[in-house]
Subunit: 198 residues, 2 copies
DNA sequence: AACTTGACATACGCATTGTATCTGAATTTT
DNA sequence: AAAATTCAGATACAATGCGTATGTCAAGTT
């Protein structure tokens, strides 16, 4: 094999570790994941880990940022496909609910993330979900569709409700039938913010 | 000192450990708490811990059950002081928000609990908050005040929104001013469930 | 009073994290 | 191009903590 650039292989290794972190944290949880196993699974040692991410939590932060970013882009895509601005907000919310059914997302972003990294609104990734919701709320208030409430509070409530509903759906006896119930209830509750009922 | 009954001292020791667990888990978090230190702080050893609670998570479960129970009784008290049934539901919600400002509650029940013990709706303590909310929702639907939605879903959304809002308030730059915003937004959003606006 | 029980202590093995030091290949310097 | 320098990652080490296996002594039993 030809001589590789330094930076190139380093980025490759970072990507490998983040990928392995997703799998390990997503399946066994952050606390139960061994960094020895994790690094060995991609042909490295803990040396690479500590050099690249500082400590175990550093890797978690990187993994969270990646998953979080993917969630946000999927949410934006769903939002773009929806009708008016209100429909877009609902689409984002229901997309969050659906995404949180992925065990990896649940475990990493909803459970271990807040527990080990602190409140999502303070994450370096700025919790893209919250950010997207905030923007939507801002537009809706400006357009006179939503009542005048504190933007951060409303966004947090909507996001929190959606993601929490997802935890419920995922852990319910019959997720398939729980999902539409959660989506219905979410849409209904969100209408509390509307100026006029539809 | 007179000879103590066996069961008596055992219950005393259990209480001591749970109390120490509250302090340790609440201040340092579950993962960072050393069971050696914790048990020593009440004049015992890990032997007592493993005998009484099986393992570290066992103690967490006991602590969670205690805190959770206290929260529920405070919520019921607030509910009893409120006006009509709808006001009672709102009172419960805002009480949850206020209670979650207690660092111990936040850390133990909202962060470490779900992360290490799994979904609250499956806790042996049955998550008293959820239970209380469910009962309230059930009554309100029967009374025709709330729209017909799935009871579990609605309760989960309301509870989730309230507790999530509390996490936001607690971690915001200025909790004192954030609290009323959160309460306002919560009350407004909950009205989405109402049959007719008030 | 001898015996049994069991609540808790003691002692041990194993796993894991973080750090300090080392190494060799990629890059830079002369 | 050879020597010098960097630095990504490996190796080695120290510290801590969990869980278990075993021991012990007072409370309860017969």
């Amino acid at each position: 094999m030809a001589a590789r650039r330094r930076q190139e292989t380093m980025e490759e290794n970072r990507a490998k570790l983040i990928c392995a972190g997703r799998k390990a944290f997503g399946s066994q949880g952050f606390a139960a994941s061994s960094m020895d196993e994790l690094t060995a699974s991609v042909g490295l040692t803990r040396g690479a880990l500590y050099h690249n991410f500082g400590d175990k939590k550093g890797l978690l932060a990187a993994v969270v940022a990646q998953v979080d970013g993917e969630m946000a882009s999927r949410a934006r895509a769903a939002s773009a496909r929806a009708g008016d601005e209100w429909q877009q907000l609902l689409a984002e919310g229901t997309t969050y609910i659906a995404m949180a059914l992925d065990p990896e997302v649940r475990r990493i972003v909803l459970l271990d993330g807040p527990a080990f990294l602190g409140d999502p609104s303070h994450w370096p990734s700025q919790n893209a979900c919250l950010e997207a919701t905030k923007e939507a709320v801002e537009r809706l208030i400006a357009a006179g569709v939503m009542k005048r409430v504190d933007i951060d509070a409303a966004a947090r409530l909507l996001c929190g409700a959606a993601l929490n509903a997802a935890l419920w759906v995922a852990d319910s006896d019959d997720p398939q039938s729980a999902l539409p119930k959660a989506v219905d209830a979410f849409s209904l509750m969100a209408e509390g913010f509307l100026v006029e009922k539809r």
